[in-house]
Amino acid sequence: MTGAPRQIVIVGRDAALWLTASTLGEGLRPIGVQVTAVELPSSLGPASAYTTLPAIEALHGKLGIDEATLLRTTGGSFSLGWNIVRPGAAPFLLAHGAYGAPIEGGEFFPYWLKARRNGLNASFEDFSPTAMAARHGRLLIPDEETERFGRCDYAYHLPAIPYVSLLKSRAQKLGVTIRQTTAVTAERDGVSGSILSVAPEDEDPISGDLFIDASGPEAVLIGQELAVGIESWRSFFPFDRSLTARAKPFSSVPTYAEIKLAGNGWTTLVAHQSATSVVHAFSAAQQSNDQAFAAAGVAAGTNVQDPAVQAVEPGLRSAAWAANCIAIGEAACALNPLFGLDLHAVQLGIVHLLSLFPTTAAADSERSEYNRISRSHFERLRDFQAAPYALISASHVVPETLLQKLDSYRARGTIAPMEDETFTPDQWRALFIGLGLEPESWPPAIDQMPPEMMKEGFRRILGFVSAKVLAQPTQDNYLAEIGAGIGA
């Protein structure tokens, strides 16, 4: 091969495999690239669910996956963010939307901070239409007014098994060749080390120009075959196990996921139409699997079933792309399970690959850029996940870049601008404020604004938020309205 790759072989499982296969099938078919998916046995259980981020909507759009169909066929639901609950403190909403809007052209946060210090009752989330809609059991359907106000996004909770089969059928329709196997072996070029072909068990080898490893932590190609190592993030995250189980669905499905933080673990309830998926993260040294199962039940407040325990070993593959093999998803970066960002990590890998689809067999420039940009994105995700651990217990090591963020936030309330962020400054601040971290000062320049003008700004925003929230449908009503209810 001398030019751009013509044959792509993806080895993997579950959403990492099928989101990659369908998106590459869609994006590369017009230039005549053939995509083959080699499917390994699923590691999903009946309780597994994906939490998405708002960005997935655009990808679904490219794949021709209609929202109502998506939620109806998977039993999924809308989500406006996370409600985070911890002992001895007020819960807070970490929402996919703006918190406040500029006052007289000036950034909202410093004004809120100053007013808060001077006795303002309204919390940070009171100024967020998205957070308040979630708090009141409503959705927030973006319109022209919310557009003018600021970001008002939403995401989904998707039961994993039906979502994966939806993606697989899209891949099939988009012309992806599908092979199933329990294991693969690879043949490599003795000189360059590049992969020449992969062979499913008892079958002929499938040759390709570019190989994608979407096999998850097993990393059958990038790890087992190419021996690319992992930089461990263990020191930033205390928990090494995650238990997934499911409880009966809520009678009225909430519009957020709920994270309950406790000393020896946290539990997330991911509510959707068909069930409530429960994820409990813990440390094997502190809790047995049975104790974790019991803790998950207590946090869920009801019986849970179908438990599955997974080892969690957070870390970054030192190169996501090595030779002619690209790792996507957990094979590239094993994130901590907090916030359930795995599907987003898959999307980042796919988007970067499409924007750097190689022009040559060697692909040296693309490989180095892909590795640079992936690392940068993954490290920002890691920092966001590490923040609650760093703030709740002082005993962990904190990544250097997160320390910079924490320092400038504590000193001044700014979120140090960094490239390749997934979360917005508002979300960082909502997280910090919610976890009880208040900045020590605000920019003195804002003291010029007369208090009346500031108060008028607050009244205007609070008025908008409450009017907007009142006009919103509940999850159940809206699902029925768009034909996305599973009873429909």
Partner: protein, 211 residues
């Protein structure tokens, strides 16, 4: 310099000497360097005023407490210095780009510049552009992707090939659309006033100002 002037010089030429670089910390203790005191890259692209503006904006955000006698919070200085370094380093790469792609062979200065060692960050940007026409795109910093593209193309650095995904577009259709775009630009430019017409109507210098 004098040979290139249209008329007589209005003042004697002034010679400025400079050493390109930035101060290791623009903010140290209770002293903040802004403008030339914080560093200087090059007269090329006149980035000094931008750097002053960026520093002022950052300083307003990070201005320490107004209470006399309070010690300056070093965390504010650290963030200011981090931002200043980012601005300088990105502009530095952009300016060096103007020199290394020169085609003036046989002239010692330009021969040297073409072959001099350059920062890894710029080397990486250049390789990516040469390979596939992809230009840097960052969220923070002065020069946009379009600025990079215009200098890269202006310096006649030719990408070996294009993004393979562009192969999906029908060439004839692309040519039509590009031609249409071009003619709309020409149309928009044609109705614009000349520079001197615009100044005369908008902000003509008053004759009463003494020299």
């Amino acid at each position: 310099l004098l040979a290139n002037l249209d008329g007589a010089p209005q003042a004697e030429p002034r010679l400025l000497r400079f050493m390109p670089g930035r101060r290791t910390s623009a903010w140290a203790g209770n002293c903040v360097a802004i403008g030339l005191a914080s560093g200087f890259l090059e007269p090329l692209e006149s980035t000094s005023i931008f750097l002053v503006q960026a520093a002022v904006v950052d300083l307003i955000d990070l201005m320490p407490s107004a209470r006399t006698g309070d010690p300056v919070d070093p965390r504010l200085a650290d963030e200011f210095n981090r931002l200043t370094t980012m601005h300088y380093d990105r502009i530095r790469d952009f300016l060096i780009l103007h020199y290394i792609a020169n085609e003036r062979t046989g002239e010692p200065l330009w021969d040297y510049l073409r072959n001099m060692p350059i920062p890894d960050s710029l080397q990486h940007k250049l390789e990516l552009f040469r390979a596939r026409g992809q230009a840097p795109e960052y969220q923070f910093g002065l020069f946009s992707r379009d600025s990079w593209l215009s200098v890269l193309f202006g310096q006649r650095i030719a990408p070996l090939t294009h993004d393979p995904l562009a192969g999906a577009f029908d060439l004839a259709l692309v040519e039509t659309q590009v031609a249409d775009f071009r003619s709309r630009i020409d149309g928009a430019v044609a109705v614009m006033p000349s520079h001197s017409q615009f100044i005369a109507g908008y902000c003509a210098a008053s004759e009463t100002v003494a020299a």
